[in-house]
Symmetry: C2
Subunit: 253 residues, 2 copies
DNA sequence: ACAAAAGTGTTTGATATACACCCATGT
DNA sequence: ACATGGGTGTATATCAAACACTTTTGT
């Protein structure tokens, strides 16, 4: 927990460097070997949980800010971050860091301001992540999506909205390039979809549809070493993958 | 064009009442009898065109702000407004109202600030609209989507993004409740879709699909008086319509 | 009578779903 | 040998696309 002096300094710094009233919250979904997690911070002392977020530097593009926050929290760079919604209820930040709310007069206290928050989500391989708490947080850890702690503020709603957006994305954009190793098997990719959707899919239909997107290339190689029949290895055709990210799969009209 | 004194007063007022660095831009698509338009403002003197926008009051929810802007510009209330993107490039507002940029020192000049803008779109019946210019604008008019003037700032990009979002929306949400009269014919509704998509649709397939959504109720009545065979009248089943707005039509996974 | 608009199918092809069979591999 | 996972294929239903015929109405 910050002392009054530290808080004062933080606030004056923030006022100098960041755009006021604007924050970014990142919903970092992590996936590895069939497990789906989300990155959460636990506040010092209070113990409450919240999404990793941050502020936008005065001359910084918001996409850059989102990437910076993600980098600071995970060490990961160059990840596909998707803006999905702005949350702008004036009441939403009422309880923000209320542990600090009486330590400074409101006009000097960055944390008692109203914040609109821009929501971004990312989907990363949590095996590659080094979760790093920020100065307000005791801990930064992967939490199971099906077993979340109670979240502060409107962060539960933000997370829910992000998950809906991610699921919607599956309908018209490819996914997985950050997540899968360079080469992967079809069942491995299927596991990703099943985990996101929280639903079993038929392996044969999945494969047909996936190949239909035209973003996969089958290698001559097989994944040896596992038990049972060795599956083929696939990789993304990056050119087509990126084109599909931009264009989207066909809509219906 | 404002005098220096008026500008000064406007800026001081704005600083007092609005959240800094945040704006809202509305892409108001208008439709009536097969014509699709977009509402644009033309700045006084300069003659440049831009999207109707505004700012967020310090204690106002952003959705309310968007509705207020729409109301001020069109007189319309209770219209489905869809947030679609935040534009946050620090360079985007560089040329904002540059006619005023030298009239006040930068620190006092609201208009030389950086603004993130939250994009909303709406689809309204332009027959019901009374376009009303704001104090900076000489004119507020419906422009043909296929024959747009050059737009200031990044407003052309915002408009394009809004149109894409609107078209995407057709795939998973109903549309038209604000637009159509209480009762309307299937060909009338089809015209709306064709206009948005800028594409002809087959009348029989359109009808089948539309009815499949389960949001329409066919009346016993026919639309009499036109030439040729009298078409049936339909109305939206508001309950199902609203449910579909929330839930969306089925995705594919 | 006829042209034009609208109602109501049908045919065809594509895609989704469900399911069956065979193959490879470690135990 | 066998259980398990993986490759491949097929039947069926469902849906989209293209298209034809009939009905209504004003001129």
């Amino acid at each position: 927990m910050l002392t009054k002096k530290e808080l004062k300094e933080y606030c004056s710094n923030a006022r100098e460097n960041y755009l006021p009233h604007i924050s970014i919250d990142c919903v970092v979904f992590g996936f590895h070997e069939g497990l789906m997690k989300v990155l959460l911070l636990q506040i010092k002392n209070g113990g409450e949980w919240y999404l990793p977020g941050g502020f936008v530097l005065k001359k910084e593009p918001i996409e850059t800010a989102a990437n910076r926050v993600l980098k600071e929290r995970t060490g990961l760079n160059n990840i596909f971050l998707q803006q999905f919604h702005v949350f702008g209820d004036p009441e939403r930040s009422k309880q923000h860091f209320d542990m600090y709310k009486d330590m400074l007069p409101a006009k000097d206290n960055w944390f008692t301001n109203r914040f609109l928050t821009i929501g971004y989500y990312a989907l990363v391989d949590f095996y590659n992540v080094n979760p790093a708490p920020d100065q307000f947080s005791a801990d930064c850890i992967w939490c199971d999506l099906n077993n979340l702690p109670e979240l502060k503020l409107d962060h539960a709603a933000i997370l829910k909205t992000a998950l809906d957006a991610l699921r919607l994305q599956l309908n018209y954009q490819p996914i997985g390039y950050n997540l899968m190793p360079k080469e992967f098997t079809m069942p491995e990719l299927q596991k990703l979809y099943e985990t996101i959707l929280d639903e079993k899919l038929d392996r044969r239909n999945f494969q047909r549809r996936m190949l239909g997107f035209g973003i996969l290339k089958r290698s001559e190689q097989l994944r040896r070493g596992g038990a049972h029949k060795a599956p083929y290895l696939y990789s993304f055709e990056l050119e087509n993958y990126n084109a599909a990210l931009k264009e989207g799969f066909k809509g219906r009209w």
